[in-house]
């Protein structure tokens, strides 16, 4: 029985080792409001001209912790309750890139690997020998290198771009799951409550059943 289990385990391990996938880069995502603010600003500058976030309204950014004046500056003439739609109409984008740029509201949840995927993808651009742009993570991509990582030369420049990508992905993380902080916070209380309740129930159970044993 144990031998079989070991064999099965070994086999699974061997299998996962041979499956060669490109290693995704690790990301230390940030949840403090300063990083999120940097993230939304970078996103507005680098992504938002083509990509929408149709499930995020400008008003939601206030809940995220952004100052109302800053939201006003970001939204321009858009209404507070308007969704964050791309500046470029979709038809123009299709003409330029041959494909509608996907909505980013749920992007980090919609890819295997989540935020690590998006982070690695943004930093995955490189210049091919023929001078064209390539991407390690998603070779078929139609998007031009938005952060300019392929052309970055110095270490300092690369680090700055990595920081910018991390900010954008941290913001996208928030956008995909705006209630995450609240959920984790509530979860701690729920688990603590259940732990106390279950302990008490266990003690009551022991008490009740001990009467049975004496009889």
């Amino acid at each position: 029985m144990n031998k079989l289990l070991n064999l099965a385990l070994l086999w699974c391990l061997a299998n996962s080792a041979t499956a060669s996938e490109i290693e995704l880069e690790k990301i230390h995502k940030e949840i403090d409001s300063v990083a999120l603010e940097r993230g939304v600003e970078a996103l507005m500058a680098d992504c938002h001209s083509c990509h929408s976030l149709k499930y995020v309204k400008y008003r939601d950014l206030i809940q995220m912790g952004l100052d109302k004046r800053k939201v006003d500056a970001l939204r321009g003439e858009q209404l507070m309750d308007a969704p964050m739609m791309a500046e470029m109409p979709e038809s123009d984008a299709i003409q330029s890139f041959g494909k509608a740029p996907p909505d980013l509201s749920l992007m980090v949840k919609a890819r295997e690997g989540g935020d690590r995927y998006v982070y690695s993808y943004l930093l995955g651009y490189y210049t091919k020998p023929d001078g064209m742009l390539g991407n390690h993570i998603y070779p078929e991509t139609r998007m031009p290198d938005p952060l300019g990582i392929a052309g970055a030369t110095g270490t300092e420049q690369r680090v700055a771009i990595q920081g910018r990508a991390r900010d954008i992905v941290s913001f996208l993380d928030w956008a995909a799951d705006p209630h995450e902080v609240e959920r984790l916070h509530l979860g701690n209380y729920v688990l603590a409550y259940l732990f106390v309740l279950t302990t008490l129930l266990y003690l009551v159970k022991q008490q009740i059943w001990s009467g049975l044993r004496r009889e």
Partner: protein
């Protein structure tokens, strides 16, 4: 005053006696282990799913143009909508988790044996209803995996002889999975839980006729039964606390671990996802479907693989009670079967390659083989165990069961003779 009210009711409706006989005073074996908690847990999860589902239905829109957006509306704008949705989505997995353990316990301890066959079969019916409900509910978010999962599964009905194509169109309400499919799946997803509640009542009526089995596998003397309340109410509540802790870890900390990433992309009939996988609880059956090269054969094998459990009372011919408790070979078969389910689940999850297809075929053969060989193995094992010697209480139970069977047969025989005369 309350006393007089209850008296007034009792003269017109058997309230007190019902509560006393079926709830508080219901005789329960004292030696039930924690594996006997899962029936109650399944009932609890059912109520949780109905409660969260009704509130979700107040905000959900069953329309191909609106349903994906309405889920995001629930997740973002509805007060605690994210909690309701994560509870409901996690609840589906929790339901199968609890039911699979409940079934595994029945198989391990041989609780399906006479006289509990009908109890087992109503449970089998409940499993089918649960699977149908979960499958239809999975279409409602209208993500990529929802759409393609429903497309693949409804397509299986093409295997129906002669009228396959018509059956598929009849199920979908259209030539492809579309708005008609979504609205009917929503309507049925709302209806089926109430059918499940009805079937649960039948299941409980059957249980209260034959009473709970117990881990010793031997019918207990009357004095070894204890009233359900307070002993098992508190034991069930303690188990519930443990279950809720595990459930809350998933709801609050890992809610997306049970949702395929592709289901966060709206359904797109023009683009097939790289790899269509069902939810984890369907994976072993899905692997069996894929392991048979012929489509009709695959569908039959998958249907049969779910229904095989119902044959257990006939397949297990051993007269030794107690399932795996007194039967080492049956116990080995049980664990190997669980291992086989895990292997099948893994095969169902990975994209098909020559290697996994081969493993899937072997595991499928083993799956059906383990049912097929039970009648012979159980008989041989019985002979071996009797020759080796069994505990006296097991022998006496076997003898009393044999006497009861003979008496029953004699009664039938006499009746037949009378009929003929």
């Amino acid at each position: 005053m309350p006393g007089r009210l209850i008296e007034w009711i009792d003269q017109r409706f058997p309230l007190s006696s019902f509560v006393k006989h079926e709830l508080t005073g219901y005789p329960t074996p004292y030696n039930l282990s924690y594996w006997w908690n899962f029936g109650f847990l399944a009932g609890f999860v059912l109520m949780l799913q109905v409660a969260t589902g009704i509130f979700l239905a107040m905000h959900y829109k069953a329309d191909v143009a609106l349903s994906f957006d309405s889920i995001q509306h629930i997740m973002r704008d509805v007060n605690y909508g994210w909690l309701l949705r994560y509870m409901h989505a996690t609840g589906a997995s929790a339901f199968f988790f609890v039911i699979f353990i409940h079934m595994a316990r029945t198989l391990y301890y041989g609780s399906y044996r006479a006289p509990r066959e009908l109890l087992w079969w109503t449970g089998q019916g409940l499993l089918l209803l649960l699977m149908a409900t979960a499958f239809m509910g999975y279409l409602l978010p209208w993500g990529q995996m929802s759409f393609w999962g429903a497309t693949v599964i409804t397509n299986l009905f093409r295997a129906t002889p002669f009228i396959g194509d018509q059956v598929v169109i009849w199920l979908r309400g259209d030539y492809t999975v579309g708005d008609a499919t979504l609205t009917r799946f929503f309507a049925l997803h709302y209806l089926f839980p109430f059918l499940i509640i009805g079937a649960v009542i039948v299941h409980l009526v059957a249980l209260h006729k034959v009473k709970s089995s117990n881990p010793s596998g031997i019918d207990l003397a009357h004095k070894d039964n204890i009233p359900f309340h307070p002993y098992f109410t508190i034991k069930d509540l303690y188990g519930l606390g443990l279950f809720l802790m595990l459930y809350s870890v998933f709801v609050f900390f890992l809610p997306d671990s049970l949702i395929e990433p592709a289901n966060n992309i709206p359904a797109n009939p023009m683009q097939t996802p790289n790899h269509i996988v069902p939810e984890w609880y369907f994976l072993p059956f899905y692997a069996i479907l894929r392991s048979v090269p012929n489509m009709v054969g695959g569908v039959l094998a998958m249907g049969l693989s779910v229904m095989m459990f119902a044959f257990m009372p006939f397949l297990d011919r051993s007269r030794i009670p107690g399932g795996a408790h007194f039967r080492p070979i049956y116990r080995l078969q049980f664990y190997l079967f669980l291992l086989d389910m895990l292997v099948l689940g893994y095969v169902g999850y990975t994209p098909p390659t020559d290697q996994t297809l081969l493993i899937g075929e072997v595991a499928t053969l083993y799956y059906f083989g383990s049912f097929f060989f039970i009648p012979f193995v159980s008989k041989l094992e019985e002979r071996w165990l009797i020759a080796r010697g069994l505990p006296p209480e097991v022998i006496s139970l076997m003898e009393s069961e044999a006497r009861a069977l003979k008496k029953q047969n004699r009664k039938h025989g006499r009746r037949r003779e009378e009929d003929q005369a």
